[in-house]
Structures are given as C-alpha cells and as structure tokens.
C-alpha cells in the first residue's frame, strides 16, 4: 500500500500532465468505471499519423488520474499504430506500482477510453 502511493503517483495526481480537453478533437471518448462511477475522457489530435496533442479530463482516484496522466505522456508524438499496439502491461510498467485486481479498473480506465476513441468501440478489459 505504501508502495502504491509512491511519489510518482502522487506527483501525477497533484500535478496532472495534459489535463484538459480538445475541441475539436480527432478522437474523443469518455469511459466510466461502473464500480465507482469515475469517469475519464481522452481527446486526441492526430497530424501526419502521429498524436500531435492529447488531453485527459474527468475525475477519479489517484490511481486512475495518475495513470491517465502518465498515459498521455506515453502517447504524445507516437504514431497511431504505436498507440494501437500499446498494451496494459506497457502502462502498468510505466506506472511502476503494484496494482491489485480491485484497482486494475482504475488504472486502466484512461487506456480503455483511449482505445475506445481510436477504435470507436470500448474494448473489454481482457483485450487491453
């Protein structure tokens, strides 16, 4: 637990990167964690096949907010193909804290919204 709330998480939670919205956006999707009602929206702009701008908004726990913040940093300037290839393991590695099954939905909410935006349909957790 003390592991969970490490500096990196608290830092991203308190000082989120790329927080906000893009209007218009090329891809945009808001997803909800049905277990707690937390919501995250991800907006993307793409130029020359690369993510030129990305923002996240919404509310949630430190894990979901920090994960979304970190995620935006991971996809910035990446090609859309790289973003599509991003897996949950990539994100979890970047987070660098042990995520228990109960918190997994929190950690993956942003990624789910991101993929839903790109593919047009929300993926199942198992497919992330």
């Amino acid at each position: 637990m003390d592991n969970l709330y490490r500096e990196v998480i608290l830092d991203h939670y308190k000082n989120p990167r790329n927080k906000g919205t893009l209007d218009p956006a090329d891809y945009s999707y808001e997803d909800t964690n049905p277990l707690c009602g937390d919501e995250i929206r991800i907006d993307l702009r793409v130029a020359d096949g690369r993510v030129s701008e990305v923002r996240f908004s919404g509310r949630g726990c430190a894990i979901s907010q920090a994960a979304a913040s970190i995620l935006t940093e991971m996809v910035e300037n990446q090609t859309l193909d790289d973003v599509k290839a991003l897996t949950k393991d990539d994100l979890l590695e970047e987070l660098g804290v042990p995520i228990s099954p109960a918190r997994m939905k929190c950690a993956l909410l942003g990624l789910k919204a991101l993929k839903a935006g790109i593919y047009g349909v929300p993926p199942h957790d198992e497919d992330l």
Partner: protein, 417 residues
C-alpha cells in the same frame, strides 16, 4: 456524550471470540478491523459449524423425498421458516419466502405482484436514497408496463422530505418502495408512518429491510409493510438465503415469478396450475442448507437480543460520528444524531478519493467500502460520485473506530505531504 441505555452493554470480547475470521492471523501485524458489515457480515462459529453439519449429516433435496434424510432436511427447512416468521413477527410462516437475497426478493415482488397490478401510466414511488436493488426492479417493471417512477427527495441532512411525499401520494401511486435503513446515509426512515400514509392513499408498501433486519427488532405487522425484504448474508448467515415477507392475501393473489420444480400443482405441456404459497414462489432446489443456517443465525442474534444489538450499534455510531467529526475536511452523510441512524457512516475526505482512502485503510488492515454503495441517485444528490463507508455490527468496538480514525489521518498525511 451520554446516551441512555435500556439494555446492558454487549460483551464484545466474547462475541468477537465467536468469529474465526476476526481472530485469523494475517500477514500484516495488526488484527483485522472489519467495518464492512453493511456489504456482508462475518459469520460466527455456530453458523459455520451448522453449515458443516448440514452437509455432513443432513444434506438432501427437500419436499419430495420419502426417506429419512430428506425428511430431516425438509423439517429443518420449514423450522427455519418458522424462525424467520417469528423474528420479524409475521402472522404466519407461509408469509416468508426463501430467496437468495434482498435483490431477488424485490424483483419477485416487482414481477409477480407488479406485472399484475401496475399498469400503463401508473405511478411507482421510490426514494432518492434507495439502493439500486429497490430501484432498478421498479424501472424494469415500469418499462414493461409503461408506468412512471418518482422519488421522494432527500433533504440536506439526508432524511426523506415527507411534504414532497404527501404531494406524491396525492397522485395515488400503486406502490411505495422504501428502504427501512439507508445503507449509505444511515438514515432510519419512518417506515410505519410512510406505510400508514401510503395505505391511506391506496398504495402497496414494499420495504427494503436489508440494513434493518440485521440490526434492529423488526415487526412487519407494526410497520404495516405489505412486503419486506432482507438478506441472510448481512445478518451472520451464509450467502445463499434471504427472505421475502409478503402479506398472505397479497401473496395468494400473485402468479408465480420463477417457474419450475416444486411450485406447481399440475403440469401439462401447454399450461400449469400453481402450488400454494409459499411453495409457489420457491421454484427449483432452494439453498436448503443456507436457509436452515439462517435459522441458526437468527437464534444467535436472538440470544444477544435485537434491542441490545441496536443499542450497541447506536453507541458505536455516536462514538464514530464524534471521532470522525474531529477530522478536518471530513464530511459525513446523513443525520447528525446517532438515534436517527443505523450503524453506517459514509463520509468524504476533501481532496482524497474514497478509493484511495480505502486502499490506505486496507494498509492498516481496516476494511471499509469505497464507492457509490449502489446508491448513485443519493450520491448525485450530494454532488458526489462515491464515499468511504464504515459500518458496524455486533463484533465491532470503539477501538475499531480509533483504528479507522488513525488510518484516515494517515491518508491525509500521505496526500497532503
């Protein structure tokens, strides 16, 4: 704080010793502080051993067996029904139907009673503090028959707005569905008064007793409930058995809900006739052992005495309200006064998400729940999406509240660093 007691206090130490899970050692050094009984209670040894005994000695399918084992299981199953009836002061055991849980009980009413009695344009009254289990079944019914749903609003202190209720009653609703005790705001609703007014307006009263039956003496006749639902797993019993109480004339006029073995009189390919109440509503093999052991749990609670259970929880709640009230940035849902609430305290800690509060508390081996507690409308009413919730039962003691407070202070330290 001084609170009047009408009963001698519980010997919590002795009670705690009855619950193996509270004594089980954990990798972590501190004893488990279980503050999530509103979700599901822990089970005393008497209950655990009764399940064990059932499967070792008495297990068989009921009703249609002519052999000794099945007769014994049947007799004990019907005995449990008597114990349940007595526990809530039903007029007859036939008014008590074994179901899985509160949720199934309310769905049973919404379907079997509702589809026959609620029609296009009819009004269904719920409350803004209902658990989804006393809300969604009515939505599903409303969608099928074209009925409307209105909610009694909740005031800023988390109680029902009875003036608004009176206005809703003027529209002559068919049914008033209300929780006895809120699992989230903690509010004890004035069910007897609500039922009296509902009946005067011609409505049937469905009470969600999930948070009441485990914690205070329930008298369905005194309450004037037409239907009353509760779950065994929240009152020391195993998870497979809950109860729907229904007044006999209502039950007898109802068609079945689930079809299958045990609920029929005569079956042809195209049509069937139904068995008497309560068999009509118990299709298929029930959770026989769980129902029998619900009887054992009731006997355990009766030995303590429901009035003492109630006073114990009220005292803990008063202590909890006081201690939590000292924490800066912490706000509590529901009435300020422990007399007006069950043993549930939901709260918000400014700047820290409930998931994070609960995760940090878990690090202290304090188990609480974080989320919307299946009360999204109530959360929305208070501008929240979630709260952290601590709930008490017979095995909790003031030290548990202290451990809760310590954990919250630690969360604040971590987040405010």
């Amino acid at each position: 704080m001084t609170i009047e007691r009408s009963t001698p206090p519980l010997d919590v130490g002795a009670i705690r010793a009855d619950f193996p899970i509270l004594a089980s050692s954990d990798a972590r050094d501190q004893r488990l502080v279980y503050l999530d009984s509103a979700a599901s209670s822990q089970k005393p040894r008497a209950v655990i051993e009764a399940i064990d005994d059932y499967y070792r000695e008495s297990n068989a399918n009921i009703h249609r067996g002519v052999y000794a084992l099945s007769e014994r299981a049947t007799a004990r199953y019907e005995e449990a029904r008597h114990l349940v009836a007595d526990f809530i002061n039903a007029e007859s055991p036939r008014e008590c139907i074994f179901v899985r849980n509160t949720t199934e009980a309310i769905n049973l009413v919404a379907n079997a009673w509702g589809r026959r009695n609620v029609h296009q344009g009819d009004l269904i009254v719920v409350t803004e503090m209902e658990h989804h289990s006393n809300l969604v079944p009515w939505q599903l019914l409303a969608e099928q028959v074209g009925a409307r749903i209105e909610a009694i609003p909740v005031t800023p202190d988390g109680v029902l707005d009875l003036d608004a209720y009176a206005r809703l009653l003027a529209q002559e609703p068919k049914v008033v569905a209300v929780g006895h005790v809120s699992n989230s705001a903690g509010t004890i609703n004035p069910v007897a008064e609500i039922a009296r007014q509902a009946k005067a307006a011609g409505a049937v009263v469905v009470v969600d007793g999930a948070q009441a039956a485990p914690h205070l003496a329930v008298d369905v006749q005194a309450l004037g409930a037409d239907f009353y639902a509760f779950s065994g797993h929240k009152m020391l019993a195993p998870m497979g058995a809950g109860v729907l109480y229904g007044r006999l004339p209502l039950l007898e006029a109802m068609p079945p809900f689930l079809g299958g073995g045990g609920m029929i009189r005569k079956v042809e390919i195209g049509r069937s006739t139904w068995a008497d109440v309560p068999a009509r509503f118990e299709a298929g093999t029930p959770a026989v052992g769980d129902a029998i052991v619900l009887g054992v749990a009731i006997e355990y609670l009766k030995r303590i005495g429901m009035d003492r259970v109630r006073e114990h929880e009220r005292d803990l709640t008063a202590y909890g309200l006081a201690r939590l009230g000292e924490i800066a940035g912490l706000s509590i849902l529901g009435p300020r006064n422990a007399d007006a609430r069950g043993g549930v305290i939901s709260f918000d800690v400014a700047g820290i998400h409930p998931h994070d509060v609960a995760a940090i508390l878990d690090g202290h081996n304090v188990a609480v729940r974080a989320g919307h507690h299946c009360c999204q409308p109530l959360m929305r009413r208070f501008g929240l999406t979630a709260t952290t919730r601590a709930s008490f039962y017979v095995y909790n003691e003031p030290d548990d509240v202290d451990r809760l407070v310590e954990g919250i202070l630690d969360a604040k330290r971590i987040f405010e660093a």
